[in-house]
């Protein structure tokens, strides 16, 4: 059992951190929450640990967002973001370009409805349709429809912003 959890931890930790990061937009907080998720998983020993991990992660992220609202602490996406930093020392121009791209992605995600965003992020984290359905309360058949809509909206919003930014720079 512990070995199974260890294997799950090794294979899923990064996905959970990424899932949480896209919700709390704070890399250190995302890691803290991810570790809290695994601690809870070991304490509860759920039957379907992978789906359970993301369900708890979503709840923790939701609580974190509420706490952030209460504290009126507005987290910014890219300022001092160590996660998205390239490993090499980027030039100022490259850094600006990278920051712009990150901002476009976040804004594109923000155009989605919370339900669409949640399902898209769960899919990107590697959850299956039944797992997504179980976590979100949707029918399994509706997950494909929702995913199709979310993908289109995300890509459209991203491309729209990219076009606008390029037009502004040129």
């Amino acid at each position: 059992m512990i070995d199974d959890f260890e294997a799950l931890y090794e294979s899923t930790y990064t996905a959970v951190v990424r899932f949480l990061y896209r919700k709390v937009w704070d890399p250190e907080r995302a890691e803290d929450l991810a570790q809290e998720v695994f601690v809870r998983a070991l304490s509860h020993c759920p039957e379907k640990p992978r789906a359970w991990l993301f369900a708890v992660a979503a709840n923790l992220a939701r609580d974190e967002a509420r706490a952030a609202v209460r504290r009126k602490r507005h987290l910014t996406l890219l300022k001092g973001d160590p996660i998205a930093q390239p490993s090499y020392q980027a030039s100022a121009e490259e850094q600006v370009e990278h920051d712009d791209e990150m901002s476009r992605v976040q804004n594109a995600l923000d155009t989605l409805t919370p339900r669409d965003r949640e399902i898209l992020l769960l899919w990107d984290a590697g959850l299956s349709y039944p797992e997504i359905a179980a976590q979100t309360g949707l029918a399994v058949g509706a997950v494909g429809t929702t995913l199709a809509r979310a993908r289109k909206r995300l890509v459209a919003a991203h491309d729209r912003q990219q076009t606008r930014d390029h037009a502004a720079h040129s």
């Binding site: 512990i2 090794e10 998205a84 990150m102 992020l121 993908r151």
Partner: protein, 327 residues
């Protein structure tokens, strides 16, 4: 075969369909150019979406060692168990208290209620009286303490009281004496009033009196003694009730002459005007034992006697259930 819905192609590419359905779709795609184009668009859309989201991906971090997670999980479990144990202890204590209280109430429900009402009655004793609901005259008969008890009915001709009665009184006044018989009168005792005293149960007393015997509401009855009247007269009845302090108070109900004689007081000393309810001389100082208050109504008299202050007697007088009947 109709064209494949777009959302089903998404599910197909996400490997979320059953194997049989996948075979059907692949067969259709092999024949349908339009659906193949749609599939290619969806593949591009998926790849684009993945690429966009990958830009938000954190750098690969291994996280802390799994042993660290295990240690924190163990701490978490221990803390949760401590909380559960504390909660269980608190709950068990509460349950034990509740069970104990319920059981005691079930075992002595009436005693509990009467005790509570007795305390209320005792508190009301200290309340001042003046032009209140006591409309009947209340005389204080400053009789010697022993004479206020039915046991005194067994006194000898000199009016002195047998020592046995005193012993019984002290036993009855012990806190927690409960329903112990107090002031029992020898059955063969021929009283000054004549006749024989009998100790009855409460139901027997009601049957004897033809009604609920006169008593102070809210106090537990410890003994009922009765002396059948002659010539069809109502019986002379003494109801002993116990205060929370252990004091025994007796309510004596019967013909005026009998009650007066029992109290050692001549009937002429009793005010018979029911509307002349003036303040009664307290006499509390000398009423530490054996004060009595009496109420006359026609040829009947009800007296309350006990070793309590006179104002307490007055308060008890107001609680006589007989008051309602008399009015």
């Amino acid at each position: 075969m109709p064209h494949i819905p777009e959302e089903e192609l998404h599910a197909y590419l996400d490997q979320a369909l059953a194997r049989l359905r996948c075979v059907e779709i692949e067969s259709h795609l092999a024949e349908c150019t339009r659906c193949r184009l749609v599939r290619d668009d969806i593949v591009a859309l998926r790849d684009h979406t993945t690429a966009i989201l990958a830009k938000l991906a954190p750098r690969r971090t291994a996280g802390p060692p799994f042993a660290e997670i295990r240690r924190r999980a163990a701490d978490h479990v221990a803390a949760r168990q401590r909380t559960l144990h504390r909660g269980a202890w608190a709950a068990s204590i509460l349950v034990a208290l509740g069970v104990g209280w319920t059981a005691s109430f079930l075992v002595h429900p009436r005693a509990e209620r009467l005790a509570a009402r007795t305390q209320a009655a005792t508190r009301s004793v200290s309340a001042p009286i003046g032009g209140d609901s006591v409309s009947a005259p209340a005389l204080q008969l400053e009789t010697p303490a022993p004479s206020a008890t039915p046991a005194l009915a067994s006194r000898n001709s000199s009016g002195r009281h047998p020592d046995a009665v005193v012993k019984d009184r002290s036993a009855a006044q012990r806190p927690g004496a409960g329903l112990a018989t107090v002031g029992r009168i020898p059955k063969d005792a021929h009283l000054e009033l004549g006749g024989v005293w009998r100790t009855l149960s409460w139901d027997g007393a009601k049957e004897e009196a033809g009604d609920s015997p006169a008593r102070i509401d809210g106090l537990p009855v410890v003994e009922v003694q009765v002396q059948r009247g002659d010539g069809g007269k109502k019986p002379l009845m003494v109801v002993a009730q116990q205060l929370a302090s252990g004091e025994v108070v007796r309510t004596i109900d019967g013909p005026v002459t009998d009650v007066s004689a029992l109290l050692g007081t001549r009937p002429t000393m009793i005010n018979t005007e029911s509307t002349a309810a003036g303040p009664v001389a307290p006499g509390a100082g000398r009423a530490a034992l054996g004060s009595a208050l009496a109420l006359r109504h026609g040829d009947r008299m009800v007296a309350v006697a006990g070793s309590v202050p006179s104002d307490s007697l007055r308060a008890m007088m107001r609680r006589l259930n007989l008051m309602t009947r008399v009015r």
